[in-house]
Symmetry: C2
Subunit: 222 residues, 2 copies
DNA sequence: CGGTCTTGTTTGGGATACCAATTCGGGATA
DNA sequence: TATCCCGAATTGGTATCCCAAACAAGACCG
Protein backbone atom coordinates (compact mmCIF):
# COMPACT_ATOMS: atom_id res chain seq x y z
CA UNK A 1 0.00 0.00 0.00
CA UNK A 2 1.17 3.53 -0.69
CA UNK A 3 2.76 5.45 2.11
CA UNK A 4 0.10 8.11 1.86
CA UNK A 5 -2.65 5.60 2.63
CA UNK A 6 -0.72 4.23 5.59
CA UNK A 7 -0.30 7.69 7.02
CA UNK A 8 -3.94 8.45 6.32
CA UNK A 9 -5.13 5.35 8.14
CA UNK A 10 -2.84 5.80 11.13
CA UNK A 11 -3.70 9.46 11.50
CA UNK A 12 -7.38 8.68 11.12
CA UNK A 13 -7.11 6.09 13.86
CA UNK A 14 -5.29 8.51 16.15
CA UNK A 15 -7.98 11.11 15.63
CA UNK A 16 -10.94 8.79 16.10
CA UNK A 17 -9.43 7.24 19.22
CA UNK A 18 -8.96 10.72 20.68
CA UNK A 19 -5.24 10.02 20.76
CA UNK A 20 -5.04 13.42 19.12
CA UNK A 21 -7.28 15.89 20.86
CA UNK A 22 -10.07 17.68 18.97
CA UNK A 23 -8.88 21.13 17.98
CA UNK A 24 -5.23 20.17 18.39
CA UNK A 25 -2.88 21.75 15.92
CA UNK A 26 -1.04 19.55 13.46
CA UNK A 27 2.08 20.87 11.81
CA UNK A 28 3.27 19.14 8.69
CA UNK A 29 6.77 19.08 10.13
CA UNK A 30 5.67 17.30 13.28
CA UNK A 31 3.79 14.70 11.27
CA UNK A 32 6.88 14.36 9.09
CA UNK A 33 8.97 13.22 12.04
CA UNK A 34 6.12 11.28 13.63
CA UNK A 35 5.54 9.13 10.57
CA UNK A 36 9.05 9.21 9.19
CA UNK A 37 7.91 10.25 5.74
CA UNK A 38 8.32 13.41 3.78
CA UNK A 39 5.75 16.15 3.55
CA UNK A 40 4.39 15.12 0.19
CA UNK A 41 2.49 11.99 1.28
CA UNK A 42 1.61 13.69 4.56
CA UNK A 43 -0.01 16.58 2.78
CA UNK A 44 -1.95 14.18 0.57
CA UNK A 45 -3.19 12.35 3.66
CA UNK A 46 -4.24 15.65 5.24
CA UNK A 47 -6.16 16.72 2.15
CA UNK A 48 -7.90 13.37 2.16
CA UNK A 49 -8.76 13.60 5.86
CA UNK A 50 -10.04 17.09 5.24
CA UNK A 51 -12.54 15.56 2.83
CA UNK A 52 -13.72 13.26 5.59
CA UNK A 53 -13.95 16.28 7.88
CA UNK A 54 -11.64 14.74 10.45
CA UNK A 55 -9.10 17.47 9.91
CA UNK A 56 -9.74 21.10 9.13
CA UNK A 57 -7.95 24.27 8.12
CA UNK A 58 -7.65 27.01 10.71
CA UNK A 59 -6.30 29.86 8.66
CA UNK A 60 -3.12 28.46 7.21
CA UNK A 61 -2.81 25.75 9.86
CA UNK A 62 -4.13 22.22 10.12
CA UNK A 63 -6.12 21.23 13.19
CA UNK A 64 -7.87 18.08 14.26
CA UNK A 65 -11.57 18.71 13.66
CA UNK A 66 -13.20 19.83 16.90
CA UNK A 67 -16.13 17.87 18.25
CA UNK A 68 -19.29 19.91 17.94
CA UNK A 69 -21.69 18.35 20.39
CA UNK A 70 -24.39 20.63 19.01
CA UNK A 71 -24.59 18.55 15.88
CA UNK A 72 -25.73 15.45 17.73
CA UNK A 73 -29.36 16.41 17.23
CA UNK A 74 -28.96 17.12 13.54
CA UNK A 75 -27.16 13.83 13.18
CA UNK A 76 -30.11 11.96 14.69
CA UNK A 77 -32.52 13.81 12.39
CA UNK A 78 -30.37 12.75 9.48
CA UNK A 79 -30.05 9.15 10.52
CA UNK A 80 -33.70 8.44 11.24
CA UNK A 81 -35.10 8.71 7.71
CA UNK A 82 -32.06 6.90 6.30
CA UNK A 83 -31.98 4.03 8.75
CA UNK A 84 -35.72 3.47 8.71
CA UNK A 85 -35.46 3.28 4.95
CA UNK A 86 -32.50 0.96 5.27
CA UNK A 87 -34.30 -1.54 7.47
CA UNK A 88 -37.35 -1.49 5.22
CA UNK A 89 -35.19 -2.36 2.23
CA UNK A 90 -33.32 -4.89 4.32
CA UNK A 91 -36.57 -6.73 4.98
CA UNK A 92 -37.27 -6.91 1.28
CA UNK A 93 -33.78 -7.71 0.07
CA UNK A 94 -31.44 -9.21 2.65
CA UNK A 95 -30.71 -12.91 2.44
CA UNK A 96 -30.79 -15.08 5.57
CA UNK A 97 -27.04 -15.50 5.27
CA UNK A 98 -26.49 -11.74 5.33
CA UNK A 99 -28.70 -11.38 8.38
CA UNK A 100 -26.92 -14.25 10.12
CA UNK A 101 -23.63 -12.43 9.53
CA UNK A 102 -24.85 -9.38 11.44
CA UNK A 103 -26.22 -11.61 14.18
CA UNK A 104 -22.81 -13.22 14.58
CA UNK A 105 -21.23 -9.82 14.92
CA UNK A 106 -23.52 -9.01 17.82
CA UNK A 107 -22.94 -12.42 19.41
CA UNK A 108 -19.18 -12.01 19.19
CA UNK A 109 -19.34 -9.05 21.56
CA UNK A 110 -19.62 -10.66 24.98
CA UNK A 111 -19.99 -8.76 28.23
CA UNK A 112 -16.34 -9.28 29.08
CA UNK A 113 -15.18 -7.64 25.85
CA UNK A 114 -12.97 -4.54 26.06
CA UNK A 115 -14.46 -1.14 25.63
CA UNK A 116 -12.94 -0.71 22.17
CA UNK A 117 -14.83 -3.77 21.04
CA UNK A 118 -18.18 -2.50 22.23
CA UNK A 119 -17.52 0.83 20.65
CA UNK A 120 -16.61 -0.68 17.31
CA UNK A 121 -19.50 -3.11 17.14
CA UNK A 122 -21.92 -0.43 18.26
CA UNK A 123 -20.89 1.56 15.21
CA UNK A 124 -20.52 -1.28 12.74
CA UNK A 125 -23.95 -2.66 13.50
CA UNK A 126 -25.59 0.35 11.93
CA UNK A 127 -23.34 0.27 8.91
CA UNK A 128 -23.98 -3.42 8.39
CA UNK A 129 -27.71 -2.94 8.65
CA UNK A 130 -27.40 -0.22 6.04
CA UNK A 131 -25.46 -2.65 3.88
CA UNK A 132 -28.41 -5.07 4.04
CA UNK A 133 -30.44 -2.42 2.24
CA UNK A 134 -28.34 -3.01 -0.84
CA UNK A 135 -28.10 0.73 -1.43
CA UNK A 136 -24.51 1.99 -1.52
CA UNK A 137 -25.49 5.63 -1.00
CA UNK A 138 -27.30 4.79 2.21
CA UNK A 139 -24.31 2.75 3.36
CA UNK A 140 -21.88 5.57 2.76
CA UNK A 141 -24.10 8.17 4.39
CA UNK A 142 -24.61 6.06 7.49
CA UNK A 143 -20.94 5.19 7.69
CA UNK A 144 -20.11 8.89 7.54
CA UNK A 145 -22.66 9.73 10.21
CA UNK A 146 -21.35 7.03 12.51
CA UNK A 147 -17.81 8.32 12.01
CA UNK A 148 -18.87 11.78 13.08
CA UNK A 149 -20.60 10.30 16.10
CA UNK A 150 -17.69 8.10 17.00
CA UNK A 151 -15.59 10.49 19.04
CA UNK A 152 -18.55 11.83 21.02
CA UNK A 153 -19.38 8.26 21.92
CA UNK A 154 -15.96 7.83 23.50
CA UNK A 155 -16.79 10.69 25.84
CA UNK A 156 -19.97 8.97 26.98
CA UNK A 157 -19.95 7.43 30.40
CA UNK A 158 -21.14 3.92 29.71
CA UNK A 159 -23.13 2.28 32.43
CA UNK A 160 -23.85 -1.41 32.28
CA UNK A 161 -27.65 -1.00 32.05
CA UNK A 162 -27.53 1.60 29.27
CA UNK A 163 -25.17 -0.56 27.27
CA UNK A 164 -27.45 -3.55 27.77
CA UNK A 165 -30.38 -1.43 26.69
CA UNK A 166 -28.67 -0.46 23.46
CA UNK A 167 -27.83 -4.07 22.74
CA UNK A 168 -31.39 -5.18 23.37
CA UNK A 169 -32.54 -2.57 20.87
CA UNK A 170 -30.05 -3.77 18.29
CA UNK A 171 -31.32 -7.31 18.69
CA UNK A 172 -34.90 -6.18 18.40
CA UNK A 173 -34.21 -4.33 15.15
CA UNK A 174 -32.48 -7.36 13.73
CA UNK A 175 -35.27 -9.60 14.99
CA UNK A 176 -37.92 -7.62 13.10
CA UNK A 177 -35.83 -7.73 9.94
CA UNK A 178 -35.50 -11.46 10.33
CA UNK A 179 -39.23 -11.75 10.89
CA UNK A 180 -39.73 -9.64 7.79
CA UNK A 181 -41.74 -6.97 9.57
CA UNK A 182 -40.52 -3.77 7.91
CA UNK A 183 -42.75 -1.32 9.76
CA UNK A 184 -41.93 -2.67 13.19
CA UNK A 185 -38.24 -2.69 12.29
CA UNK A 186 -38.45 0.91 11.11
CA UNK A 187 -40.24 2.00 14.27
CA UNK A 188 -37.69 0.21 16.39
CA UNK A 189 -34.78 1.74 14.47
CA UNK A 190 -36.16 5.25 14.84
CA UNK A 191 -36.74 4.73 18.55
CA UNK A 192 -33.26 3.36 18.97
CA UNK A 193 -31.67 6.39 17.34
CA UNK A 194 -33.71 8.72 19.51
CA UNK A 195 -32.90 6.73 22.63
CA UNK A 196 -29.17 6.58 22.05
CA UNK A 197 -29.12 10.27 21.24
CA UNK A 198 -30.88 10.98 24.53
CA UNK A 199 -28.61 8.66 26.49
CA UNK A 200 -25.57 10.30 24.96
CA UNK A 201 -26.78 13.84 25.59
CA UNK A 202 -27.78 13.02 29.16
CA UNK A 203 -24.45 11.41 29.86
CA UNK A 204 -22.50 14.30 28.37
CA UNK A 205 -24.59 16.81 30.27
CA UNK A 206 -24.06 15.06 33.57
CA UNK A 207 -20.36 14.89 32.88
CA UNK A 208 -19.80 18.46 31.70
CA UNK A 209 -17.32 19.02 34.49
CA UNK A 210 -15.38 15.90 33.61
CA UNK A 211 -15.34 16.84 29.96
CA UNK A 212 -13.96 20.27 30.67
CA UNK A 213 -11.34 18.75 32.92
CA UNK A 214 -10.27 16.54 30.05
CA UNK A 215 -9.99 19.59 27.86
CA UNK A 216 -13.03 19.15 25.65
CA UNK A 217 -15.04 22.10 24.52
CA UNK A 218 -18.55 21.70 25.77
CA UNK A 219 -19.74 24.43 23.47
CA UNK A 220 -22.70 23.37 21.45
CA UNK A 221 -24.12 21.18 24.18
CA UNK A 222 -27.46 22.42 25.39
CA UNK B 1 -7.20 31.84 -3.32
CA UNK B 2 -4.69 29.06 -3.32
CA UNK B 3 -3.66 27.63 -6.63
CA UNK B 4 -4.82 24.20 -5.57
CA UNK B 5 -8.39 25.41 -5.07
CA UNK B 6 -8.40 27.14 -8.45
CA UNK B 7 -7.25 23.97 -10.14
CA UNK B 8 -9.78 21.96 -8.17
CA UNK B 9 -12.65 24.20 -9.19
CA UNK B 10 -11.68 24.39 -12.85
CA UNK B 11 -11.14 20.66 -13.11
CA UNK B 12 -14.40 20.02 -11.31
CA UNK B 13 -16.19 22.25 -13.76
CA UNK B 14 -14.60 20.51 -16.72
CA UNK B 15 -15.67 17.14 -15.39
CA UNK B 16 -19.23 18.11 -14.54
CA UNK B 17 -19.75 19.84 -17.88
CA UNK B 18 -18.56 16.68 -19.65
CA UNK B 19 -15.73 18.73 -21.09
CA UNK B 20 -13.63 15.82 -19.90
CA UNK B 21 -15.24 12.54 -20.82
CA UNK B 22 -16.20 10.01 -18.14
CA UNK B 23 -13.50 7.36 -17.90
CA UNK B 24 -10.95 9.59 -19.62
CA UNK B 25 -7.42 9.23 -18.34
CA UNK B 26 -5.79 12.19 -16.63
CA UNK B 27 -2.02 12.30 -16.42
CA UNK B 28 -0.50 14.61 -13.87
CA UNK B 29 1.87 15.90 -16.50
CA UNK B 30 -0.93 16.84 -18.86
CA UNK B 31 -2.74 18.69 -16.10
CA UNK B 32 0.56 20.35 -15.25
CA UNK B 33 0.79 21.92 -18.68
CA UNK B 34 -2.97 22.52 -18.91
CA UNK B 35 -3.11 24.54 -15.71
CA UNK B 36 0.41 25.90 -15.78
CA UNK B 37 1.15 24.79 -12.27
CA UNK B 38 3.43 22.20 -10.81
CA UNK B 39 2.37 18.74 -9.76
CA UNK B 40 2.11 19.58 -6.08
CA UNK B 41 -1.13 21.61 -6.22
CA UNK B 42 -2.44 19.37 -8.99
CA UNK B 43 -2.04 16.28 -6.88
CA UNK B 44 -3.78 18.00 -3.99
CA UNK B 45 -6.67 18.91 -6.27
CA UNK B 46 -6.88 15.32 -7.53
CA UNK B 47 -6.91 13.88 -4.02
CA UNK B 48 -9.66 16.29 -3.16
CA UNK B 49 -11.70 15.42 -6.24
CA UNK B 50 -11.20 11.77 -5.42
CA UNK B 51 -12.98 12.45 -2.14
CA UNK B 52 -15.91 13.87 -4.10
CA UNK B 53 -15.81 10.80 -6.33
CA UNK B 54 -15.41 12.88 -9.46
CA UNK B 55 -12.00 11.36 -10.11
CA UNK B 56 -10.84 7.85 -9.40
CA UNK B 57 -7.74 5.69 -9.37
CA UNK B 58 -7.42 3.06 -12.04
CA UNK B 59 -4.41 1.12 -10.91
CA UNK B 60 -1.71 3.74 -10.75
CA UNK B 61 -3.53 6.12 -13.07
CA UNK B 62 -6.08 8.84 -12.55
CA UNK B 63 -9.32 8.74 -14.54
CA UNK B 64 -12.41 10.89 -14.64
CA UNK B 65 -15.06 8.95 -12.74
CA UNK B 66 -17.22 7.01 -15.19
CA UNK B 67 -20.96 7.57 -15.20
CA UNK B 68 -22.73 4.51 -13.89
CA UNK B 69 -26.27 4.84 -15.10
CA UNK B 70 -27.15 1.82 -13.00
CA UNK B 71 -26.92 3.90 -9.87
CA UNK B 72 -29.77 6.19 -10.90
CA UNK B 73 -32.27 3.96 -9.12
CA UNK B 74 -30.24 3.76 -5.93
CA UNK B 75 -29.87 7.51 -6.05
CA UNK B 76 -33.62 7.99 -6.15
CA UNK B 77 -34.06 5.55 -3.26
CA UNK B 78 -31.55 7.58 -1.32
CA UNK B 79 -33.06 10.94 -2.12
CA UNK B 80 -36.67 10.13 -1.33
CA UNK B 81 -36.40 9.65 2.44
CA UNK B 82 -33.99 12.57 2.72
CA UNK B 83 -35.94 15.05 0.64
CA UNK B 84 -39.29 14.14 2.17
CA UNK B 85 -37.69 14.72 5.55
CA UNK B 86 -36.22 17.96 4.29
CA UNK B 87 -39.54 19.41 3.16
CA UNK B 88 -41.22 18.38 6.41
CA UNK B 89 -38.58 20.24 8.40
CA UNK B 90 -38.77 23.11 5.95
CA UNK B 91 -42.45 23.53 6.74
CA UNK B 92 -41.69 23.73 10.43
CA UNK B 93 -38.58 25.88 10.25
CA UNK B 94 -38.19 27.94 7.10
CA UNK B 95 -38.90 31.65 7.28
CA UNK B 96 -40.98 33.35 4.61
CA UNK B 97 -37.89 35.20 3.47
CA UNK B 98 -36.02 31.95 2.90
CA UNK B 99 -38.90 30.54 0.92
CA UNK B 100 -39.18 33.70 -1.13
CA UNK B 101 -35.49 33.32 -2.00
CA UNK B 102 -36.07 29.91 -3.52
CA UNK B 103 -39.13 31.21 -5.34
CA UNK B 104 -37.04 33.97 -6.89
CA UNK B 105 -34.55 31.42 -8.08
CA UNK B 106 -37.29 29.55 -9.94
CA UNK B 107 -38.70 32.79 -11.37
CA UNK B 108 -35.30 33.86 -12.65
CA UNK B 109 -35.22 30.87 -14.99
CA UNK B 110 -37.38 31.97 -17.92
CA UNK B 111 -38.19 29.81 -20.90
CA UNK B 112 -35.66 31.64 -23.06
CA UNK B 113 -32.81 30.82 -20.68
CA UNK B 114 -29.85 28.79 -21.93
CA UNK B 115 -29.64 25.11 -21.22
CA UNK B 116 -26.88 25.56 -18.64
CA UNK B 117 -29.21 27.77 -16.64
CA UNK B 118 -32.00 25.22 -16.56
CA UNK B 119 -29.56 22.54 -15.61
CA UNK B 120 -28.09 24.54 -12.77
CA UNK B 121 -31.40 25.72 -11.32
CA UNK B 122 -32.84 22.21 -11.61
CA UNK B 123 -30.03 21.04 -9.35
CA UNK B 124 -29.86 23.99 -7.01
CA UNK B 125 -33.57 23.90 -6.29
CA UNK B 126 -33.20 20.63 -4.44
CA UNK B 127 -30.18 21.81 -2.51
CA UNK B 128 -31.92 25.00 -1.51
CA UNK B 129 -34.99 23.11 -0.35
CA UNK B 130 -32.67 20.94 1.72
CA UNK B 131 -31.16 24.09 3.15
CA UNK B 132 -34.60 25.18 4.33
CA UNK B 133 -34.62 22.11 6.56
CA UNK B 134 -31.89 23.69 8.65
CA UNK B 135 -30.05 20.38 8.81
CA UNK B 136 -26.50 20.60 7.41
CA UNK B 137 -26.14 16.84 7.02
CA UNK B 138 -29.20 16.66 4.83
CA UNK B 139 -27.91 19.58 2.78
CA UNK B 140 -24.56 17.97 2.18
CA UNK B 141 -26.07 14.60 1.32
CA UNK B 142 -28.50 16.10 -1.17
CA UNK B 143 -25.80 18.27 -2.70
CA UNK B 144 -23.64 15.19 -3.16
CA UNK B 145 -26.49 13.24 -4.70
CA UNK B 146 -27.30 16.05 -7.13
CA UNK B 147 -23.64 16.25 -8.12
CA UNK B 148 -23.61 12.56 -8.96
CA UNK B 149 -26.78 13.02 -10.96
CA UNK B 150 -25.53 16.09 -12.74
CA UNK B 151 -23.62 14.50 -15.61
CA UNK B 152 -26.35 11.99 -16.39
CA UNK B 153 -28.77 14.89 -16.64
CA UNK B 154 -26.66 16.45 -19.38
CA UNK B 155 -27.16 13.31 -21.43
CA UNK B 156 -30.91 13.59 -21.14
CA UNK B 157 -32.82 14.73 -24.18
CA UNK B 158 -34.89 17.56 -22.81
CA UNK B 159 -38.22 18.11 -24.42
CA UNK B 160 -40.17 21.24 -23.74
CA UNK B 161 -43.14 19.43 -22.10
CA UNK B 162 -40.99 17.30 -19.79
CA UNK B 163 -39.07 20.35 -18.66
CA UNK B 164 -42.31 22.19 -18.03
CA UNK B 165 -43.56 19.22 -16.07
CA UNK B 166 -40.51 19.25 -13.81
CA UNK B 167 -40.92 22.95 -13.22
CA UNK B 168 -44.57 22.57 -12.32
CA UNK B 169 -43.58 19.92 -9.77
CA UNK B 170 -40.97 22.20 -8.27
CA UNK B 171 -43.52 24.94 -7.87
CA UNK B 172 -46.01 22.57 -6.30
CA UNK B 173 -43.47 21.39 -3.72
CA UNK B 174 -42.61 24.96 -2.85
CA UNK B 175 -46.30 25.84 -2.76
CA UNK B 176 -47.05 23.18 -0.16
CA UNK B 177 -44.12 24.33 1.96
CA UNK B 178 -45.42 27.86 1.77
CA UNK B 179 -48.89 26.65 2.70
CA UNK B 180 -47.29 24.78 5.60
CA UNK B 181 -48.66 21.41 4.52
CA UNK B 182 -45.78 19.05 5.31
CA UNK B 183 -47.43 15.80 4.28
CA UNK B 184 -48.57 17.08 0.91
CA UNK B 185 -45.14 18.57 0.33
CA UNK B 186 -43.48 15.28 1.21
CA UNK B 187 -45.77 13.34 -1.09
CA UNK B 188 -45.14 15.79 -3.89
CA UNK B 189 -41.37 15.63 -3.36
CA UNK B 190 -41.32 11.83 -3.44
CA UNK B 191 -43.44 11.80 -6.60
CA UNK B 192 -41.20 14.37 -8.23
CA UNK B 193 -38.08 12.31 -7.56
CA UNK B 194 -39.72 9.20 -8.96
CA UNK B 195 -41.01 11.09 -11.98
CA UNK B 196 -37.70 12.70 -12.87
CA UNK B 197 -35.94 9.37 -12.44
CA UNK B 198 -38.41 7.77 -14.85
CA UNK B 199 -38.12 10.62 -17.34
CA UNK B 200 -34.35 10.38 -17.22
CA UNK B 201 -34.26 6.61 -17.61
CA UNK B 202 -36.77 6.71 -20.44
CA UNK B 203 -34.85 9.39 -22.25
CA UNK B 204 -31.55 7.59 -21.86
CA UNK B 205 -33.08 4.31 -23.00
CA UNK B 206 -34.54 5.86 -26.11
CA UNK B 207 -31.22 7.48 -26.87
CA UNK B 208 -28.94 4.51 -26.27
CA UNK B 209 -27.69 4.69 -29.82
CA UNK B 210 -26.92 8.38 -29.52
CA UNK B 211 -25.14 7.82 -26.25
CA UNK B 212 -22.92 5.13 -27.68
CA UNK B 213 -22.15 7.34 -30.64
CA UNK B 214 -21.01 10.03 -28.25
CA UNK B 215 -18.76 7.50 -26.56
CA UNK B 216 -20.66 6.94 -23.33
CA UNK B 217 -20.80 3.56 -21.72
CA UNK B 218 -24.40 2.50 -21.54
CA UNK B 219 -23.48 -0.28 -19.19
CA UNK B 220 -25.60 -0.26 -16.10
CA UNK B 221 -28.68 0.99 -17.91
CA UNK B 222 -31.47 -1.55 -17.88
C1' DC C 1 7.50 50.89 32.49
C1' DG C 2 4.81 50.21 28.30
C1' DG C 3 4.29 50.09 23.62
C1' DT C 4 6.08 49.49 19.08
C1' DC C 5 9.13 48.16 15.64
C1' DT C 6 12.37 44.89 13.96
C1' DT C 7 14.31 40.72 12.98
C1' DG C 8 14.94 35.81 13.09
C1' DT C 9 12.41 31.54 13.01
C1' DT C 10 8.83 28.58 11.67
C1' DT C 11 5.13 27.45 8.77
C1' DG C 12 2.66 26.02 4.68
C1' DG C 13 2.51 26.60 -0.62
C1' DG C 14 4.67 25.56 -4.61
C1' DA C 15 8.53 23.83 -7.75
C1' DT C 16 11.74 20.56 -8.86
C1' DA C 17 14.79 16.55 -8.60
C1' DC C 18 15.06 11.70 -8.33
C1' DC C 19 13.42 6.94 -8.34
C1' DA C 20 10.98 2.67 -9.27
C1' DA C 21 7.60 0.68 -11.94
C1' DT C 22 5.00 0.25 -15.89
C1' DT C 23 4.27 0.79 -20.73
C1' DC C 24 5.17 0.63 -25.36
C1' DG C 25 8.07 -0.16 -29.66
C1' DG C 26 11.14 -2.10 -32.35
C1' DG C 27 14.12 -5.48 -33.64
C1' DA C 28 15.90 -10.21 -33.39
C1' DT C 29 14.57 -14.88 -33.75
C1' DA C 30 12.05 -19.18 -34.43
C1' DT D 1 4.92 -13.89 -40.15
C1' DA D 2 4.22 -14.23 -35.38
C1' DT D 3 6.36 -13.93 -30.95
C1' DC D 4 9.35 -12.79 -27.53
C1' DC D 5 12.55 -9.85 -25.28
C1' DC D 6 14.97 -5.82 -24.14
C1' DG D 7 15.42 -0.90 -23.56
C1' DA D 8 13.87 3.80 -23.89
C1' DA D 9 10.35 6.84 -22.45
C1' DT D 10 6.70 8.07 -19.52
C1' DT D 11 4.24 7.71 -15.32
C1' DG D 12 3.11 8.35 -10.48
C1' DG D 13 5.43 8.30 -5.64
C1' DT D 14 8.58 10.47 -2.72
C1' DA D 15 12.14 13.69 -1.10
C1' DT D 16 13.94 18.10 -1.03
C1' DC D 17 14.42 22.93 -2.08
C1' DC D 18 12.97 27.74 -2.18
C1' DC D 19 9.90 31.36 -1.00
C1' DA D 20 6.62 34.48 1.07
C1' DA D 21 3.77 35.10 4.86
C1' DA D 22 2.88 34.58 9.77
C1' DC D 23 4.55 34.60 14.21
C1' DA D 24 7.20 35.45 18.34
C1' DA D 25 10.77 37.38 20.95
C1' DG D 26 13.54 40.93 22.03
C1' DA D 27 15.50 45.41 21.53
C1' DC D 28 14.70 50.09 21.28
C1' DC D 29 12.23 54.31 21.94
C1' DG D 30 8.95 57.33 24.20
Amino acid sequence: MSQMLQIHDQLREMILSLDLGPGERLTERWLESRFEGSRTPIRAALVRLEGEELVRRDGRNWIVAPIDLGELEALAEFRIPLETTAVRFACARASETDIAGVEEMLDACQSGAPREEWHRVGTDFHVEIARLSGNPFIVKAIAGAMTRLSRARWLEVWTEPSREQAWREHRRILGFIKANDPEAAAREAADHITDTRDRLLRSLNEDRRGLRARGFAVIGLR
